[in-house]
Symmetry: C2
Subunit: 383 residues, 2 copies
C-alpha cells in the first residue's frame, strides 16, 4: 500500500525525458505555499474549510481581476470570472455546457494533445484548424467554416493555445488575433483560449489575449496557476461571457459542492495577497528563459543540418522540424531512448496524422547543463 505513487510523473533512470511538460519540482514555491497555508488558515479561519463560493474564493477572484486588469488592460468583473480546478477541468466543464455529443468543435492542429482527449471523451466531433509557422491561419479558418456550412454543420467552438503554443512555442501575431475574433463573432463560434503560458514570457510581454481583444460573448479564456505556481494546486480560472460564467457557477456541480478548488484557491489567494506571486513568477521567467536559451542553442549545434528549431518567446516547449531525409521522429525514438534522451513525436499533436517530421521538447524539467546534454544525445540519435 505504501508504494502507491503520489505524483503523475514516472522517472526513467538514465533518460533525460523531454516528453514531460511539467514544471521542475525544484522551482515549485514550497516555502511560499507553506506560508500561505498558515496565513489562509489564520486569516480566513474556518471559511477556508467551509463550502466555498461556487464561483471560487472571493479574495482570489478579486486579486485576479486586479492582476489581469494590470496585465492586460481589461479587468473581468465579478460576473466574468470563475475559478476552476485547472484548465483541464475548466475545458471539460465549459464544453459540457456549450456542446453536446456529436457537435463539431475545431481544434488548431497541432495543439495540446491532452486537451484533444478531453474533447474526444465528450463525444465531440473534432475538425482541424490549419496552422502555419505563425499559428492559426484565419484565411484557412474561413474556408473551413464555409466548408462545414455547405455540409449543414457548424462549429460550436474553436480550441487553441495562441500564446506560447503547446507544442510549437509559437504565438499568434496581433493582426491574426484581431481577424480571428472578428470571424468568431460573425460566425457565433465560441473561441476557447487556453492561455496557460501567458506569464512565462522570456522576451518581453506576451501578445494580448484573445479575450482582451474580443467583444463580450466571443472568447472564453482559460488561465491557470499550474505553471506559474504549482500544478498540484489545481487552481485555474475562466474569464468569459457572463451567461456562461453564470450557468457554470449556478449549475448543479458547483451548487452542490461549492467552489471546486476552494481550499487550494484560498491558499493561492493568501499567497498572491502577500505579494509572493510576482516575485515567484519573476524568478521563473529568469530560470525557464535560461533553459530555453540553453536547449535552443544546443539543438542548433547538434541537430542535423536542415533541422528547424523554434525559439519560443515563452512557455515550456521547443518544436523541431527535421530535414526530409533521415528517420522520422517516431522512427528515431527508440534509438534516442537507448542514448538516454526522450521526447514526444509531433504526430501526437495533430488531428490529421501530419507531423511525422516534427517533435516536441520540453525544457521545463531540466537544468541548462542537462538540456545541453539532451541536445547532444539527440544529435547522436540522428547522426
Amino acid at each position: 500500500l505504501s508504494n502507491w505513487p503520489l505524483v503523475q510523473i514516472v522517472h526513467r533512470p538514465g533518460v533525460l525525458d523531454l516528453a514531460w511538460g511539467h514544471p521542475d519540482p525544484s522551482l515549485l514555491p514550497l516555502e511560499a505555499v507553506q506560508r500561505a497555508a498558515r496565513r489562509a488558515l489564520d486569516d480566513y479561519g474556518s471559511e477556508t474549510l467551509q463550502y466555498g463560493h461556487p464561483a471560487g474564493p472571493g479574495p482570489l477572484r478579486a486579486w485576479l481581476a486586479d492582476h489581469l486588469g494590470r496585465l492586460e488592460g481589461r479587468a473581468p468583473d465579478a460576473d466574468e470570472v470563475l475559478i476552476t480546478a485547472g484548465i483541464s477541468h475548466g475545458l471539460d466543464l465549459l464544453l459540457h455546457h456549450i456542446a453536446a455529443p456529436g457537435d463539431t468543435v475545431l481544434v488548431e492542429s497541432p495543439t495540446y494533445h491532452l486537451a484533444v482527449r478531453i474533447l474526444r471523451d465528450q463525444g465531440l466531433r473534432l475538425a482541424p484548424a490549419v496552422t502555419d509557422e505563425h499559428g492559426l491561419r484565419v484565411d484557412a479558418l474561413r474556408e473551413t467554416l464555409a466548408g462545414l456550412r455547405r455540409k449543414g454543420r457548424r462549429a460550436k467552438a474553436l480550441y487553441l493555445v495562441p500564446t506560447f503554443n503547446n507544442p510549437t512555442g509559437v504565438s499568434l501575431p496581433l493582426e491574426r488575433r484581431q481577424a480571428l475574433v472578428e470571424v468568431a463573432a460573425r460566425e457565433k463560434m465560441l473561441i476557447v483560449e487556453d492561455d496557460v503560458y501567458r506569464e512565462l514570457a522570456y522576451d518581453g510581454p506576451a501578445p494580448p489575449s484573445l479575450w482582451s481583444l474580443a467583444p463580450e460573448g466571443v472568447v472564453a479564456r482559460l488561465g491557470s496557476f499550474a505553471k506559474t505556481l504549482a500544478p498540484g494546486l489545481r487552481v485555474g480560472w475562466l474569464t468569459g461571457p457572463r451567461d456562461i460564467v453564470a450557468a457554470l457557477r449556478d449549475g448543479g456541480l458547483l451548487d452542490s459542492g461549492g467552489g471546486i478548488s476552494h481550499f487550494a484557491g484560498a491558499i493561492t489567494a493568501a499567497l498572491c495577497a502577500a505579494g509572493d506571486y510576482e516575485a515567484h513568477v519573476s524568478g521563473l521567467r529568469a530560470a525557464y528563459g535560461a533553459r530555453r536559451d540553453a536547449l535552443h542553442q544546443a539543438l542548433e549545434a547538434h541537430l542535423p543540418a536542415g533541422s528547424r528549431v523554434t525559439r519560443p518567446g515563452g512557455g515550456f516547449f521547443v518544436w523541431v522540424r527535421l530535414p526530409e531525409a533521415g528517420p522520422s521522429a517516431a522512427e528515431a525514438l527508440a534509438g534516442a531512448e537507448a542514448l538516454g534522451v526522450s521526447y514526444l513525436p509531433g504526430e501526437r499533436f495533430y488531428l490529421d496524422g501530419q507531423g511525422a517530421r516534427t517533435l516536441r521538447l520540453a525544457f521545463s524539467l531540466y537544468a541548462p547543463e542537462e538540456l545541453r546534454e539532451a541536445a547532444r544525445r539527440l544529435g547522436q540519435a540522428w547522426a
Copy 2:
C-alpha cells in the same frame, strides 16, 4: 472587490436557518488541517505541488483502503479507488462516463435535490424510484424496471443515498440492500451509492454499504471527507468497478490535469496518517448526536399533534411529515421565516411533485439550544 464572498453560505440575521445541510464552522478541524498542511509540505515536499497521480494521492488511497477495510470488511484494491473533488464531482464524472444525454437514470424519490440538478444538467432522463418510510422499495423498483422495458427503455443507473438519507435520515434495511444489489446485477443497472453520511452514525455502526455487499461491477460508491473533515477541501472518493475506475483515471481530464484534488488530498492524507481523522470523527459523532437528540425531542414537543418526526441514526437531517390539516410546508415557510426559522419544503426532494406535507430540517449548523429555539418557533408557525 474585497467584498466578494469566500464561502457559499449566506447568513440571514435573526433566522435560524435549518435549510443548510452544512457542517458547523466551529466543528471544522482547523488545527488538525494546519498541522497536516505543515506535515504534508515537510514530508512529501515538492510532490505536494507537482501534477498528482491521476487516481489521487497514493498515500490517501492507501489509507482509505485500509480504513474502509476495517470499517466495512472489504478493502478496495488500488484499481478500485479513485480520488474525486468531492461527491458532486464524482457523480458528475461517473455519469458523464456511463450515460449519454437522453439516457434514463432512476433516482430514489425523495432524494438529495442537488444531485438531481447535476444529473439534469447532463440531459439525463430521470425517473423516480419509489420509497416508503424504510427507504427504496425493491418490489416497486422491479415494476418500474419492467415498465421501462415494456417501453423499450432501460435504466443505466440508479442514484440513491441509502444510509442516513438526505433528506429523510432513514437507512435502508439490510434485507432490502441485499435484494437491491441482486436486482441491479440481474438488470445490469449500475447502482450509484451516495455514502456521504456513513461515518456520522450516532446509535452504532451504519448498515453495510451496498458496495460492500455487491459483486464486482454492480455498485459505484461515492464517499467524501466533506462531512467528516471539511467540505472546502473538496476531497472525495469512488470505490467501484475496475473498468470504471480505469476509464476515469485514464481519461483526458485526469491525464491532462493529474489528480483533481492533489494538494488538498495530500494534506488530507497527512491528517489521516497522523491519526487525527478518527479522533475528529469521534468528536463529531458526539456533537452531532447531541444536536440530533435536541432537535428531535424539541420537535416532538412543539410540532402540531399528528406530525411524524424521524429520529435518524446518523447524518444531518430530521424529516417531518405534517398532519393533513393545516398549511403545507411551502405555505408555512414565509410565516416561519417571519418568526425567525427556516427549512426546506419537502417537495424539493421529490422528482414527481409529492411531499407537500413534508419538510427537511438540518441540525448540523446549530448548537442544541439554538435547535430547541428553532423547534419552538416552528411550533409557533403551525400554531
